[in-house]
Every structure is written in C-alpha cells, then in structure tokens.
Subunit: 229 residues, 2 copies
C-alpha cells in the first residue's frame, strides 16, 4: 500500500482528493499548510506528494526545496491555470509533474500512478516526441520542432497543442478542448477547433490532408497519437 501526502489548503478539494485516494486503496495523509507538509513528509515518509502551490503560510517552492534537501520522493504539483510561471519554477526546483486545476480525477490518478511507478524522479515527461521522431513538443520551453527545425505557433495554437501533448493517446472531446483553451463559458464553438486544427496540421503534419498525429474521431473529438497507431 502506497502512502500519499496531500498538501492542500482548500478543505473541499482536499476532502475530494482524500476520499478518492482512499477509495483506490492508498493511505492518504493531509497537510493544510506548508509547515505541516514538511513535518509530515519528514515523519511519515510518503511514497508520493501532491502539492498545491497556493498555500497560506510559505510558498510551494519553499516546500519543494525543503523536501528536496533530503529526499527524492516524487512531487506532483496541483495548481491553478494562471500560476503558469510558478509551475515552471516548481518544476525547476525539483517537482516531477503537474496538473492544472480544475483537474479530471482520473488524469490525476494516472499521473500519480506514473510518478509511483517511476519512483526515482526524472524530467522525462517534459518533452513529448512522436514515435517517428519527426515531431517534438517541449512543454517546459513551449517550443515545437518538426524534423529538428523550430516551428512558431500562435498563442491559441500552442494552448491547443499543449492540451494534446499533456494527454497523449487520449480522446479529447470538443467541449473539453474548448474549456481548456477558451474558457469554461465556451462549449458550442466547435468551428474554432476546426479552424485551428486545420492550421496546426498544416504546420506540424507531414501531409496536412492526411493527419497522423492529430486525428479526428468523428462525432467524438480529437486524439493526439504520438505512437503512430
């Protein structure tokens, strides 16, 4: 049985996380602030740590540095969308991965399993590459390369590509993508997606009219298939 330390000050989110984790058979501990997080990390030796960046007392960065001083336990960042700068700082400070609030529970659990499986922290997830090596997406530097040469994307194009890169092989519905890129009040504007998918394919696919990486699933959504299948 693995022990998960949940560092989260919002009581509702914390409860939801703890309930879900315990239902899946994890031993889940809770720290509502940074001080108690460091304390529990030292005394309970969790197998993985879920860390919210917005804490009341000390910054999430301080917590990461405090733990990395003596332990290489995997740390998953949970952060709001607008905190993207501190997310990168957190990754640089030694965090392993991050999910953006509001997050899908199954996605979080998948990343958690991945972190546990790895055991030893590595930044391998930072660059997503297709099986054929033609396309590279660097999530940390926000850069995309096709056959080695950098491609410039517009902000909206990048946000879309980022969604795909963070969810390889997974079917993303139109509403899901619209929420993630344009905001929660969008959902019916599927024509946006049609236009931008077209542009992205022109830039990143070998043959824009026969997409291999950004595949349409008719009536369901889109899927990024770096594996090639």
């Amino acid at each position: 049985m693995s022990t998960v330390l949940v560092v989260e000050d919002d009581a509702n989110i914390a409860r939801a996380l703890l309930v879900n984790l315990r239902a899946r058979g994890y031993r889940a501990l809770h720290a509502p602030d940074g001080t108690r997080a460091l304390d529990l990390a030292a005394h309970e030796h969790p197998d993985v740590i879920l860390l919210d960046l917005g804490l009341p007392d000390v910054s999430g960065l301080t917590v990461i540095r405090g733990i990395r001083g003596w332990s290489r336990v995997p740390i998953l960042i949970v952060s709001a969308r607008q905190e993207s700068a501190s997310k990168i700082e957190a990754l640089d400070a030694g965090a392993d991965d991050y999910v953006t609030k509001p997050f899908a529970m199954d996605e979080l659990l998948a990343r958690l399993r991945a972190a546990l499986r790895r055991g030893t922290p590595e930044q391998a997830e930072a660059i997503v590459t297709t099986a054929d090596g033609r396309l590279e997406i660097d999530l940390a530097t926000k850069r995309v390369r096709v056959e080695g040469t950098p491609i410039s994307l517009t902000p909206t194009e990048w946000l879309l590509v980022e969604q795909f890169a963070r969810n390889p092989e997974r079917l993303l519905s139109q509403t899901e993508l619209l929420h993630a890129v344009w905001g929660p009040e969008y959902g019916r504007e599927t024509n946006y997606l049609r236009v931008y998918l077209s542009q992205i394919r022109q830039k990143l696919e070998a043959d824009g009219s026969r997409p291999r990486y950004f595949v349409t699933e008719l009536g369901m959504g889109y899927r990024f298939t770096p594996s090639g299948g």
Copy 2:
C-alpha cells in the same frame, strides 16, 4: 467473507438457499418480507442481495428502488417463470441479473460470484479486457482494440460499448440501454439496438454471426461476457 442477504418469503426455498450459501463460506442473512429486507440492507450492508419478486407485503420493485436510493450493491432477482414482465421492470429499476425458479443451485452460485466480482471495486485499471485477451476496452482514452489494433467506433456505437464495459457479466434490458444511450424518452425503439448491436459485433467479434462477448438474452436484453462464459 462476503455477506449475502436472501429476501424470500417461501420458508423451504429460503432454508435451502441459506444452507447452501453457508456451506460455501458465505455469511447469509434472511429477510422474509420487503420491510425487513430494507431494514437488513441498511444495517448489515450485505455484499450482494438475492431478491424474490413475489413478496407478501411490498413489491420487489419497491425494495429495489428503496435500496438503489443509497446503495449500488448488486441485486440478483429470483423469480417464477411467468413473471417475465416484472423481471424486466426489475432490471430497469436497477437489478443486476436474474435467475428463474426452479433454478439450479450451481448456476445461481455462478451468477452470485459474478455479481460479487463486479461489486468489489477492483476497477483501478480503467481497461476492460476479455479473458482471451482479444478485445480491450479502454474507458479512459475511449479506445477499443481487437487483437492489438485500434478499432474506430461511431459515437453511438461507443456509448453502447461503454455501457457494456461498465457492466460486465450483467444483464442489461433493452429499455435500460436505450435510456442510457438515446435518452429517457426512448424505450420502445428496440430496432435501434438491433442495428447497432449488429454493427458492434461485425467490428469487435471474431465471428459476427456467432457472438461470444455481446450475447443476446431472448426477450430480456443483452449481456457483455468478457469472462468468455
């Protein structure tokens, strides 16, 4: 040790069931009427419920609805042959499966084991696989594989397959499926199901004319049998 609640007014049948269940190592409770059934279900939290439809006080349907209001414990209907209409009603109300009186004890025990297997939350992996490994249904990425190669399904086909994957070994009535896929106002359009089941079998079964996974239960509904039996 699993707890089984037997709801049965006929004393002879009840005794036979209780003796057989206890001999197999189950903890077996007995409720001779609907009122005590609801009472025991609430206080003892059984792992599975065997429910006779012909009760002296309240109808079996009332019992199902009373339990389904707060619990998802598997419910197996035990009913006489001529009560086929109420059997379908019971399935629509949320029962999981049924056996017809007079029943073979080993068949009942087999269905009971299937219900227990389903009830225990071992769905840590969101991938449902058939016993022979030919068919994989990945609920997280919404992808279906036959012998390793991905198969593309239309939205309606996927919704149906998803229902089956989420309820393996369970008998799903036509109305239940129609409600889940087309919406609550549908219920008589069983021809839809016939067309789509045919398409799904063509795509996913080894021999579309001899289905092994998506089995028809004549007059009752359909059952997904990943175990192969």
